[in-house]
């Protein structure tokens, strides 16, 4: 029986008789966290490499080509090692405890949010009924870390970056949440596993965006808000390298800086997975349904296919984010606010209204 943690299940199965249950719980959590951290780090590193390659090819160049041989695949690892070995600098005027805590908080909260993601049907770190709620709450925590970093650095540029981040995230949490309500109305659940499973009809094409005409515009709104949430161009104002030097992370260097960097890519992955689950069918696709038919519902190959389908969808979203970043200029802070409050929020509300009416009529008919 699934009690919410597959690692605990495995441990219970293989642990020697008489092990105290708190030890089992603790070790299961430890293993889970370890795997999560490793997985997210690998994904973030891959995303960094991918970003550099995508940017390169969009700009008629190759991007990294040397480290590791094939298309510079080991570039991120090399960079990571370099960043680890760099001198850890804390500015003299900085607020030391906050300065040190900020990257940890940023990375920690994004890891916590990622814990709620499903890896494959039935494979997850934490099965939370209010999963989406948890993800949104945790990913908002990063803002606190960013503001802390900006303030603690004792630099004018970082304060600008931090204030921009705070204003931007406050503005975009609203359309982000509201636009997510549209698929929630269709799905009726906050649980990511369940939400994904509900799209399995129509040979795996019964995605929410096809279930209700208002989900597609909601998806566009969600995607734009997610860009702003993750500080991606054209909403990368907190960093705004041509205006604020490097924004809130101006004073950071070495591994602490790389935490912010990893957070950005982890957040991109998180948002892409959420988009995939709540708009684009989650695990479901014709391949998934085919694999299920061929191998059987519980077969691990079916699960693998499902997991890969989700991964492909997530990376599709990440690619779109990169594509946008290397196409668009940056918006100004007041335009960010205008866009958030005057365009995205009312449009998202309209989508909710439309989806509700459609759903009510549909259900009424059916």
């Amino acid at each position: 029986m699934n009690n919410g943690n597959i690692f605990l299940d495995l441990l219970v199965r293989f642990a020697p008789e008489g092990t105290p249950s708190w030890l089992l719980d603790l070790s299961a959590a430890g293993v889970g966290v370890g795997i999560l951290v490793a997985m997210v780090s690998v994904i973030a590193m891959f995303c960094v490499w991918m970003e550099r390659k995508v940017a390169g090819h969009i700009q008629c160049r190759y991007g990294p080509m040397y480290v590791g041989g094939w298309h510079g695949w080991a570039q991120s690892i090399a960079d990571g090692v370099k960043l680890l070995l760099k001198e850890d600098m804390i500015p003299i005027g900085a607020d030391r405890p906050l300065f040190v805590l900020a990257p940890a908080l940023v990375l920690g909260s994004i890891f916590a949010a990622l814990a709620a993601l499903p890896l494959a049907p039935g494979v997850f770190f934490a099965d939370i009924d209010l999963g989406l709620f948890f993800i949104l709450a945790m990913s908002s925590m990063t803002t606190i870390g960013v503001v802390m970093a900006g303030w603690a650095s004792a630099s004018k540029w970082t304060v600008y970056g931090a204030m921009r981040e705070a204003a931007q995230v406050v503005a975009y949490e609203i359309p982000l949440g509201i636009s997510l309500m549209v698929p929630l109305i269709v799905a009726g659940t906050f649980n990511l596993n369940e939400a994904s499973a509900l799209q399995s009809g129509w040979y795996g094409m019964h995605w929410y965006i096809f279930q209700n005409p208002f989900v597609l515009p909601a998806f566009a709104l969600f995607f734009i808000s997610a860009l702003a949430e993750t500080k991606r161009a054209p909403f990368d104002l907190p960093e705004a390298e041509s205006e604020l030097v490097a924004g809130f992370m101006t004073e950071y260097s070495g591994i602490r800086w790389s935490f912010f960097f990893m957070e950005e890519y982890a957040a991109m992955f998180l948002m892409s997975v959420v988009a995939a689950v709540f708009f684009l069918g989650g695990f479901e696709s014709p391949f998934t349904s085919l694999a299920r038919d061929v191998f059987g519902e519980q077969h691990f190959l079916a699960s693998l296919t499902a997991g890969l389908v989700l991964l492909v969808k997530a990376f599709g979203g990440i690619f779109l984010m990169m594509w946008l970043r290397w196409t668009l200029p940056r918006v100004r802070i007041d335009q960010v606010m205008t866009m958030g409050y005057k365009y995205l929020t009312p449009l998202a509300l309209l989508c909710v209204l439309g989806a509700s009416i459609f759903e009510a009529l549909w259900l009424g008919v059916a």
Binding site: A55, Q59, S242, L244, L328, P329, R330, V331, R332, D334
Partner: protein, 376 residues
């Protein structure tokens, strides 16, 4: 009511800042994101070019002219050469004039490409920068073929040009012209007409016609404010008058199409359009170029008669003036350089207050300065 007042923040933009296009410092006083005062500080790249001009021989000064506006070195060479030639009585062969015009106009395109690319960078779009540099690279390669250098050409000399064009060079330029037009379309679509770019630059940093004249702005800064004036047409030098009479090119002027007349977008669009006009001039020269000598008859040692002359030419950034004074000796008495960037930059003091911090970057970018020239 509560009277809440925050303290103004003084921020040093520069000397090392991505938006100042070199080592310039703008002391910005801000109230939150709002800029309440700005003061440009120059001189970080001051290399005493004018003093050097008084200490080296006439021809030896040529390489130094490359170095003030290093993005348009051909134009600088040309300006200096014309100023010295104004004192001397020499006939410049027609082929040399044609090659001069081709080089100057290609260099104008290259310079505007950098302006376009870096402005995109200021606004936050990275990709147009590399697209622009791709075409600029081509132009630099063409220059490399004719004079051997990519940035500091020292090619246009007093009395003509140093070398004749190598075989096939003119055909390559023809090919470049054909390809460039398609790419130009992409520049406009990708950045100039992008909604975010328009929002960021239209109605930002508006320079009225009166203000432009009062500040002595020239070049695209002036034309962006709707003043139809171009030295190539209105104070013609070399063969530009002939080209204008032939109807080969037009002068783009700001129209306020996307916002207000004289805003950053207008200034920028003038530059982008100028690329195409320069291309037309190059095409005309390619069609009309003839064989012939490329250097006038010069004495072995350059002798410049006593006197003084001022010659202003249309640099990509505005009027580049050289005021040279000679006493008949081997060395200039005075070699004054009127750099357009220097003059155009002065407008920042009045333009920046009451804009947002992000606009500051957009406005500095729209003046398209080269710090090598402001500081000389």
């Amino acid at each position: 009511m509560l009277d809440v007042k925050t303290q103004d923040l003084e921020v040093n933009m520069g000397p090392q800042h991505p938006a100042t296009h070199g080592v310039m410092r703008v002391l910005v006083r801000t109230d939150g994101e709002l800029v309440t005062g700005a003061q440009p500080h120059l001189g970080y790249l001051h290399r005493a070019a004018e003093k050097i001009g008084e200490n080296v021989e006439w021809l030896q000064y040529l390489p130094y002219t490359d170095r003030y506006d290093y993005l348009a070195a051909m134009n600088n060479n040309l300006g200096y050469s014309l100023a010295v030639e104004a004192l001397m009585d020499i006939e410049i062969p027609r082929r040399a004039q044609m090659i001069r015009v081709i080089c100057a106009e290609l260099n104008r395109i290259a310079s505007h490409l950098v302006a376009y690319g870096t402005y995109g960078l200021d606004i936050g779009a990275f990709t147009p920068f590399l697209y622009a540099f791709r075409e600029r690279e081509w132009i630099l390669m063409l220059f490399e073929k004719i004079c051997g250098a990519r940035l500091t050409y020292s090619y246009i000399r007093i009395g003509g040009v140093f070398n004749d064009a190598p075989p096939g060079w003119l055909d390559e330029i023809g090919h470049f012209c054909d390809v460039f037009e398609d790419k130009w379309r992409e520049y406009v679509d990708l950045l100039m007409m992008n909604k975010i770019f328009v929002e960021r630059t239209a109605k930002v940093g508006v320079i009225s016609k009166e203000m432009a004249l009062d500040f002595g702005l020239t070049g695209p800064m002036l034309r962006g404010s709707g003043v139809d004036f171009d030295l190539r047409r209105d104070c013609p030098y070399m063969i530009y008058d002939e080209i204008w009479q032939a109807g080969a090119y037009e002068i783009p002027v700001g129209t306020g199409e996307q916002g207000v007349l004289g805003d950053s977008w207008d200034r920028f669009y003038v530059r982008v359009q100028e690329m195409l006009e320069s291309l037309k001039i190059v095409r005309w020269c390619l069609a009309n170029i003839e064989e012939g000598p490329t250097i006038g008859e010069l004495p072995k040692t350059l002798k410049v008669p006593a006197g003084e002359a001022y010659v202003g030419i249309e640099n990509p950034r505005g009027e580049l003036g050289h005021y040279v004074v000679s006493d008949g000796g081997k060395v200039a008495v005075r070699c004054r350089v009127r750099g357009p960037s220097f003059v155009n930059l002065a407008v920042l003091e009045d333009l920046l207050p009451n804009t947002l911090l992000a606009d500051t970057v957009a406005i500095i970018g729209s003046t398209d300065i080269v710090v090598g020239e402001t500081d000389r």
